[in-house]
Subunit: 164 residues, 2 copies
């Protein structure tokens, strides 16, 4: 069943690629050449106040290149900054290259995450992540999309929830 | 068609998870809890001489957690070390956190990759990557699996090909 589904998704993705070639492509275009994105061309944006509290920088590292559904970005949270509560349709991996932060699953304790740790957030699990009150934290975030979406944003993390 | 296939793959993966619970699981088990892999628990292994030339360390960062098909690892090539020629069924992303290396697509020039660069290798493109003769290089490698496979290994990169 799984092999059949993987075959089907491949067929459908190639159909999608073929049709996108004739219309506007929502995803990164396909190519048969290796693409090198140089570090000085990877732009950072301030994290939206709608989804983040405090000072947050978001840098897209790579889009989902067809037929892949996986994209990745680097997010830096200054001390005290954090995401809003949210879920991911296919889950998310966080790799922490710098700093010390916090992560919390709805109903669970706040847990510390540190440089070198790798975190798996299962599909549909409500959670937030960010810096600690006294230290910045950077993570690389990797996730697969479902129907073009990689995240479902919810309410912001209150100061009371964050300090608890 | 793509939406249908994504739905089908989700259904099939959940069926697969249910059946794996009764047999041996080939993939990482599912869970509804966030999982933190601490840096000192992420073990490194020497890269196999069958697939690599020179001194290479391979560290698995994360397996493909159901229903995700994406796994990642960190690979460190000492100066002069490189992979064999190979392809990936869904392509591969490389993120370079340290050093300077080389990458080459079959029939193309050797290109330098440096700290901070992000590289996309399209599905099915024959290539190799590694250190330069005089500098080590570390990359994080992220790829999706197809029928349980993430790579198709080919012949090794000769000294003549590497030095050219």
């Amino acid at each position: 069943m799984k092999v059949l589904a993987v075959t089907l998704i491949w067929l459908s993705l190639f159909t999608s690629v073929a049709s996108q070639a004739q219309t506007s492509a929502a995803k990164a275009p396909t190519s048969s050449s290796i693409k090198i994105a140089r570090s000085d061309c990877l732009h950072s944006n301030k994290g939206s106040a709608q989804y983040f509290t405090g000072s947050v920088q978001v840098q897209q590292l790579f889009p989902a290149y067809d037929p892949s559904l996986t994209s990745g970005g680097k997010v830096t949270f200054e001390a005290g900054a954090r995401s809003a509560w949210h879920t991911h349709p296919f889950g998310q991996i966080l790799i922490v290259p710098e700093g010390t932060g916090w992560i919390q699953q709805w109903g669970g304790p706040i847990e510390e995450i540190r440089k070198g740790d790798v975190i798996w957030i299962p599909a549909g699990v409500k959670h937030w992540h960010g810096a600690t009150p006294n230290s910045a934290m950077t993570h690389i975030a990797i996730q697969e999309e479902l129907n073009g979406k990689v995240v479902e944003w919810m309410e912001k993390v209150t100061d009371e929830q964050y300090r608890k």
